[in-house]
């Protein structure tokens, strides 16, 4: 049952072949028996999930079910869930029970998706390996000595290991796509503003975007149909006409213009990754797509620009965690300054502290122009590069990551090496574009992800291009050994 995709499970529910309660119990059993090998979930919410499942079955019996009613999912622990701990994988919020639901959580609740639990992640979504979590690292189901990527590492590992058919994630610099690539699943980062950020704990507000993580493009489209939509509580939310993101799944790719950014195929890319991407390009050629080389001349500056903008916003976004109203408070503070310094010093892990300090520095008087302002200017140039490229092509294809999953601890000593694992994903966030990662093969037994980048609001086209690939390939069906 757990090998079925989300779409297949939805169909099985619709046909009455299985009930939501049965499905939910099945996945809860898998979590119980297998997650100790992965640590993909911080909180399991079995009782609430079963309650929702019973309600979903009852709704279906009344003929009130929607496409995803009763299909269980997991939420990244960055989304606020009413009455349930919402930790952001931080000691700071270990005791935080949210009094409200995030917009995304509300939407899945309204549809009637049982929530199996909250997934592990890098602390406050800051990391690329899921090793900064206060709840311990997540292991990659393809090789438990390796990382699943991050920051949505728990969501990726849970979906890859068939502990849940779908998961929510967030992507600030690649946090959906990079772990999707490293665990062999499909993940979509929508256009900035598509998915409400209300109740999604902010890391870098101008870059954060929630999105689906599942096994296939079709599944991602089904989830995005639930997640996307205007939310008046989020001023950056976009008002767009309702859209079925799976409407173009079967559109022919004949004559589709795919751009290959030469900057994404340079040195630093693992030969195994390069081989897989070349094969994917050949596949698309056979489907009738035309390839054009495009230039994204400023993309080389993405990582430095990102590591000014994101920490700057995070230094301010995380100021509310001060030990005053909720969250971690140090023992016996001797005065206000002591309360602040120890609560934050003890409540935040080293990577979060590093970014707060970098961001505080970048915004300080005397440095603001040289760092923050300059980074914002380059950010516009990066977006302009994409605008020009999309004048020539429909979609951009690139590797998602330069390498496959690395070993636990391999990059923790050197933050810059870690940051470079997002080198192909970050520019997309700076430009606010939609992009996805889908499994395209293996290198030395580890999954390789292919990235598809679309123009603004072109999610449906992206999903179609990905679906056509998945119709002719089986990479997305591979299950890691031990989790079949």
């Amino acid at each position: 049952m757990h090998h079925k995709t989300l779409a297949e499970l939805a169909a099985a529910l619709g046909d009455g072949k299985v009930s939501s309660v049965e499905l939910t119990e099945h996945f809860l059993r898998r979590i119980e028996s297998l997650d100790h090998r992965l640590n993909s979930l911080i909180t399991v919410t079995g009782e609430q999930a079963l309650e929702t499942a019973r309600a979903a079955d009852a709704a279906r019996a009344r003929g009130e079910a929607g496409p995803l009613t009763g299909v269980p999912i997991v939420h990244k622990d960055i989304f606020c869930t009413e009455g349930v701990r919402t930790s952001c994988a931080s000691r700071m919020l270990d005791n935080f029970i949210s009094p409200y639901d995030a917009g995304v959580v509300e939407r899945f609740k309204a549809v009637g998706c049982p929530v199996l639990g909250k997934t592990n992640m890098d602390e406050f979504a800051m990391g690329s390996s899921n090793e900064t979590s206060d709840y311990g690292p997540v292991n990659n189901p393809w090789d438990t000595q390796r990382v699943p990527g991050g920051s949505s590492g728990g969501s990726a590992a849970a979906v890859a290991a068939r502990l849940a058919p779908g998961a929510t994630g967030t992507d600030t610099g690649g946090s959906i796509r990079q772990p999707a690539a490293l665990t062999g699943i499909t993940g979509l980062k929508p256009t900035y503003g598509r998915v409400s950020r209300w109740g999604m704990i902010a890391f870098a507000s101008s870059l954060d975007q929630g999105g689906p993580m599942a096994r296939t493009a079709e599944d991602c489209g089904l989830m995005l149909n639930v997640m996307a939509g205007f939310d008046e509580r989020d001023s950056t939310s976009l008002e767009r006409p309702a859209e079925d993101f799976n409407a173009r799944l079967n559109t022919t790719l004949k004559g589709l213009k795919i751009g290959l950014p030469r900057e994404f195929f340079g040195e630093g890319m693992d030969p195994g990754v390069a081989r897989v991407i070349d094969e994917a390009i050949d596949f698309y050629k056979k489907l009738g797509a035309d390839f054009v080389e495009v230039a994204l001349p400023h993309s080389g500056l993405s990582v430095p620009v990102y590591y000014v903008v994101a920490p700057a916003e995070c230094s301010s976004n995380l100021a509310r965690f001060d030990g005053v109203r909720y969250g971690y408070r140090c023992e016996d503070p001797k005065d206000l300054m002591d309360l602040y310094m120890r609560s934050r010093g003890e409540g935040f892990g080293p990577e979060v502290q590093r970014r707060i300090m970098v961001g505080t520095y970048a915004l300080s008087a005397g440095y603001f122009d040289a760092y923050y302002l300059k980074a914002q200017k380059i950010r516009r140039l990066i977006a302009d590069d994409f605008r020009q490229a999309f004048g020539q092509v429909d979609v951009i294809l690139a590797p998602t990551t330069p390498t496959t999953a690395f070993r636990l601890g391999e990059k923790t000593a050197d933050p810059v090496t870690m940051y470079l694992s997002d080198i192909y994903t970050i520019a997309v966030n700076l430009a606010g574009l939609p992009a996805m990662s889908l499994p395209a093969g293996f290198s030395e037994g580890l999954p390789v992800g292919m990235q598809l980048i679309g123009n603004y609001f072109d999610e449906a086209r992206l999903l179609g291009v990905a679906h056509q690939y998945q119709r002719g390939t089986e990479w997305h069906q591979m299950a890691p050994a031990g989790f079949e």
């Binding site: 009094p99 870098a204 008046e232 001023s235 950056t236 230094s315 301010s316 100021a319 915004l363």
Partner: protein
């Protein structure tokens, strides 16, 4: 050595919107602590701000009233600092691009001169909560009801040269925001308060002296006293050969002095940057025109109308238009006694204001309504009572003894205008005071007043004074 004082004010006017500037929570004053703070005001994880359009409309209203340009695009920025009553660890404010640009207001000085004070800018921002240090036994209580209340910060140029000018300017802005109905102006509740930047320089020099900033002055009197103290303090330092330290100071109204709060070295680096949770605020010309159309008659316009239509002096017109409520009260009274606006003005500025001040009441809370006062003045106009008796009637009306006619009737205060009756009293007075009569007739003209007094005394003040004068003159000659 002659010194010149230089003052600039930053006025914080709390906008009288129903809900907060970035959340739907109520802004009503005086609720139980933390009962009017929603998830957004508490700065919970994941919450986001949404701008209240009404606050924008009010800011635009103010901008138009001071003749300032309205920015077609302004930006909300985060001002970052840690404080327990600042829930997010930053205040959302406007920094580089404020919604209201440069404008000006005229202030009237007591010598009748007018001075123009520049308003550098006005911007929208959210208020913080309140820290309560009493009753918590060494701990601090935090009340976030006020957190997120919309404020318009109105920044003046350093154009004021005395505490009086500063007070006149603050009063002018106070009147303006109340005329515009964008702020209730309640200073006790902190709805209208200011920070004063004060420095002194040698007369004739151009360079400003080092300034200090006196925080959170919530009355006109405190502003005046704080500036006086601060100017003296700075002059003492400079004349003693010292240097003024740039710092933030607090005014202690009990001791009448300012004291250091934090120096420039300790000042925060607020790390302003555009708030990525809010889009730039774009204001369409059509919106500005719509707001312009809704502007009420402003104090200066009203003042000129009072001078032209009612023939009032600049001073009287200025006093009567100082608040919208006072102006409305006056206009109602004046309408009751057509052609005698000066009479109405004298009564509103004299008896009424005196009585209000005596009991520290607002004009809106006056026991004698404008209609009732109009009724009283009509009785002066039609000679039912004299101006002097009217004062007695007014006191009775103030004490709640009814309207003018009821009091006049009840106390028998109706003026005696019957010539025969007055003549009778005059004859008696003359008969009873033969020696005064003789002295008067032998040239002591001053005694005329004595006879008037005697007649008024015997009629209980009710005799028509003009008739008494006329008749006495006849009888005494």
């Amino acid at each position: 050595m002659e010194w010149e004082t230089v003052i600039g004010l930053e006025i914080h006017a709390q906008l009288s919107t129903q809900s907060k500037i970035f959340s739907g929570a109520s802004t009503a004053y005086g609720a139980e602590p933390n009962t009017q703070a929603c998830a957004v005001d508490l700065g919970l994880p994941g919450v986001l701000p949404v701008l209240n359009r009404e606050a924008v409309r009010m800011a635009v209203k103010f901008g138009l009233a001071i003749g300032a340009p309205i920015a077609p695009r302004s930006i909300f920025a985060r001002k970052n600092y840690f404080y327990p009553d600042l829930p997010k660890g930053y205040q959302i404010s406007q920094y580089e691009l404020p919604v209201v640009g440069r404008g000006q207001v005229d202030i009237e000085l007591e010598d009748g001169q007018t001075r123009t004070i520049g308003v550098t800018r006005a911007h929208l921002e959210e208020d913080a909560g309140k820290s309560l240090h009493e009753d918590y036994h060494g701990m601090t209580g935090v009340d976030l009801n006020r957190a997120g209340t919309p404020l318009l910060e109105i920044v003046s140029e350093p154009d004021m040269r005395s505490a009086r000018e500063a007070v006149a300017y603050m009063k002018k802005i106070h009147a303006l925001v109340r005329y515009l109905e964008i702020c209730d102006g309640n200073m006790q509740e902190g709805s209208f308060r200011c920070d004063a930047n004060v420095s002194v320089r040698r007369k004739g020099t151009e360079k400003f002296g080092t300034r200090t900033e006196i925080k959170n002055l919530n009355s006109f009197r405190f502003l005046e006293r704080a500036i006086h103290f601060e100017v003296e303090r700075q002059i003492d330092i400079l004349e003693g050969g010292g240097a003024v330290v740039q710092e933030t100071r607090l005014f202690d109204p009990d001791k009448g002095e300012t004291r250091s709060m934090r120096s420039k070295e300790e000042a925060n680096d607020y790390r302003y940057f555009p708030d990525p949770d809010l889009l730039p605020l774009d204001i369409e010309p059509a919106f500005i025109e719509q707001v312009r159309g809704s502007l009420p008659e402003l104090p200066d316009e009203k003042k000129h109308r009072f001078m032209n239509d009612h023939g009032l002096s600049a001073y009287d017109a200025g006093v009567l238009t100082a608040s919208r409520e006072m102006a409305e009260y006056f206009e109602q009274v004046a309408a009751a006694v057509e052609g005698q606006a000066k009479l109405a003005a004298n009564w509103v500025m004299g008896e009424l204001t005196g009585a209000l001040n005596r009991e520290s009441r607002e004009i809106t809370d006056s026991p004698v309504s404008a209609e009732a006062l109009g009724g009283l003045l009509r009785r002066i106009q039609d000679n039912t009572i004299s101006g002097k008796i009217a004062k007695e009637v007014f006191e009775a009306m103030w004490a709640g003894e009814g309207d003018a006619d009821q009091v006049i009737e009840g106390k028998g205060l109706k003026q005696i205008t019957d010539t025969g009756a007055i003549e009778q009293v005059i004859d008696q007075v003359i008969a009873d005071n033969p020696s005064q009569l003789e002295q008067y007739r032998s040239g002591k003209d001053k005694l005329f007043g004595f006879f008037v007094g005697q007649v008024m005394k015997r009629t209980g003040g009710k005799a028509n004074p003009a008739q008494v004068n006329d008749l006495l003159k006849q009888k005494l000659s």
